[in-house]
Amino acid sequence: MIRLRTSLRPAVLVALAAATVLGCAKRENEIVIGEYGSLTGSTATFGVSTKNGIELYVDNVNAAGGVGGAKLRVIVEDDQSKPEEAATAVNKLVDQDGVVAVLGEVASSRSMAAAPICQQAGVPMITPSSTNPKVTELGDYIFRVCFIDPFQGQMIAKFAKSTLGLSKAAVFRDNKNDYSVGLANYFSEAFHAMGGAIVADEAYSEGDQDFRAQLTVIKAKRPQFLMVPGYYTEVGLIARQARELGLEVPLLGGDGWVSDRLLEIAQDALNGSYFVNHYWQQDPNPAIQKFVTEYRARYNATPDGLAALGYDAAGVLTSALDRLRQEDAAAFKALSGPRNEKQKAARAKLRDMIASTKDFPGVTGRISLDASRNAVKPAVFLGIENRAYKFVAAVEP
């Protein structure tokens, strides 16, 4: 028995190796794109929504014949909502799968863990929804199709001060999260400059489940609102515990709140609160309604802002590929060829095409990338009333 097993081993190894090689082998005339995201973990809806958005766009492109006959294939990796796993996932996409471009992540900390890998390998990366400014500063191959946190922080400060007429804020930030710390700082600066006061600035860590100690301190300072620039799981729990402690002021936050689980977690605790989103799903604009209808039909869910940005990120990449095909057919062909210097040069050209994106008609607004590879575009404010969202205002940059 033992002898048989030993003699079988080389054969099994060869078979496995063959399967690996064949599994990765590129099919003729196919462009392989990598995607990494949090399909599981504390921000699972971020990754799932983004994946659905990307999948919807890519399948539409392929159904219409692909980009000039070349089909797009997306390889998706789960990073379990952890920055270190994001780096592992992108290493695999770049080294083993040989992708020519990468889409992801939502969370800025995870985009920042993966961006240096893409930059080093010369693989363009487009983050659909990481808003921390530092993400695209990591290199000229790193792009985003969303607005950035200085804009978002300014907008929340102005909304609180002018629209709601509140001048005493408490900030409750996630200390382990680049997005949260950045947004908290931009908000505080802007709110100060407008003459508002930050009466309390407390911190928690992603994954915490008890916030009562900090909320007790905050309550004693009597703020008029609570600015929580965190992610939806913690925001929902914070809202509930704030109400339990008798802290009844509205909560304000950024696009980290965007998730269809937010209200399931918070229940009634977020009524009267406001947050920033990338688009409004009931916008009558026909392009948005077409996207919402298709998405609903396929996933049986209303697309949130992150699904819309995933859709747009795939759109910006596809449009760059298409322009490359028209301008430099040889380079375009090299993208579906073997991984060599020729392909590397082609990826550099693809990078240039993404950088020159102008007025791309996305569902989250017209996308033009500026010199810092950021999108400049409007945002919307949503309010929460009786466990439902309502449109409050659209803000131009």
Binding site: E202, Q209, D210, A213, A220
Partner: protein
């Protein structure tokens, strides 16, 4: 002042959870001289069992009632008692006569096993506990606001601790447990069924951890497969602080841990929330290694 009382009230509710988990550590240590590192994960399994029990039976939400909550609690305790017995039978009994280090490493192995099976079976996404009892705010004297959930946690913990103390002090099995803890070989010679006593100890300890898991789901509804790691470590520190092997020590240690955590977060910084546990551990080991209520026992050489 009101702020301080509020922190203390929340700290006591939180500390009751640690106390319940610490009881399991201390009982197993008292009997086997084994630190059962898988105990925090049994607490996690308890929370998930209650979650699924509530889903299947439709308890919680609109059907919230203290009676169904009690059924869910008992169900989770039963399942985890069985889990504790299985763990003891398959993981610890085979290495009982080996060195203590072997048993310790086995415990870490069981802990990792439960965590990863949890990730596989329950998934990495956090789940949100249904509200088994309709939430209500209660104002205590001094303007301190707590929820009926927090009061439930404290009351159920106290009841379980009283029940455990009565069991250990007043029943024949309890007496046998004390005898085994005092000297296993002598107890065996006196005709005490040592194996059965150890099994019962694991069952009770695991049931208490399950109770802690259900109670935490009530006040802090987010549950996930790795939720047992930190509370497990902190409850272990609580058991050491109180004097490992001592049942009242575990309760006092747990309450002190909960309160100190709230005071540190409230008055110093949330960054030290987990750090405080280890500062306490180091201080106890330096100043009073036997813990607050522990006895100094000379090692036989």
């Amino acid at each position: 002042m009101q702020e301080l009382f509020q922190q203390l009230a929340n700290g006591i509710a939180w500390g009751s959870i640690y106390a319940l988990i610490a009881l399991g550590y201390t009982m197993v240590y008292g009997i086997l001289r084994l630190i059962n590192f898988a105990h925090g994960d049994v607490y996690m399994v308890g929370a998930f069992t209650a979650y699924y029990l509530a889903l299947w039976t439709g308890a919680g939400g609109a059907n919230a009632s203290p009676f169904t909550a009690l059924l869910v609690l008992l169900g989770a305790m039963l399942v985890c008692a069985a889990l504790g017995i299985v763990i003891e039978l398959f993981a610890y009994r085979p290495v009982r006569r080996s060195s203590r280090l072997t048993a310790l490493i086995t415990a870490i192995g069981v802990s990792l096993f439960l965590e990863n099976v949890g990730l596989r079976v329950f998934g990495a996404d956090p789940k949100f506990f249904p509200q088994l009892i309709a939430p209500r705010r209660v104002e205590l004297p001094g303007g301190v606001l707590v929820t009926n959930h927090q009061i439930t946690v404290v009351v159920v913990s106290i009841l379980l601790m009283i029940a455990l103390t009565l069991f250990v002090q007043r029943t024949r099995t309890g007496k046998a447990m004390r005898a085994v803890s005092f000297n296993r070989d002598a107890a065996s010679l006196m005709g005490i069924p040592v194996n059965r006593i150890i099994t019962i100890t694991f069952a009770i300890g695991s049931a208490l951890a399950a109770a802690a898991g259900v109670l935490v789901g009530l006040t802090n509804p987010k549950i996930e497969p790795l939720m047992g790691i930190m509370p497990g470590i902190k409850a272990f520190v609580a058991a050491v602080l109180g004097g490992i092997g001592s049942i009242p020590g575990a309760v006092i240690g747990g309450l002190l841990m909960g309160v100190s955590e709230y005071l540190v977060v409230g008055y110093i910084s949330s960054t030290y929330r987990d750090g405080i546990a280890f500062v306490i551990l180091i201080l106890v080991l330096l100043i009073k290694p036997a813990g607050l209520l522990g006895r100094n026992v000379a090692e036989k050489v």
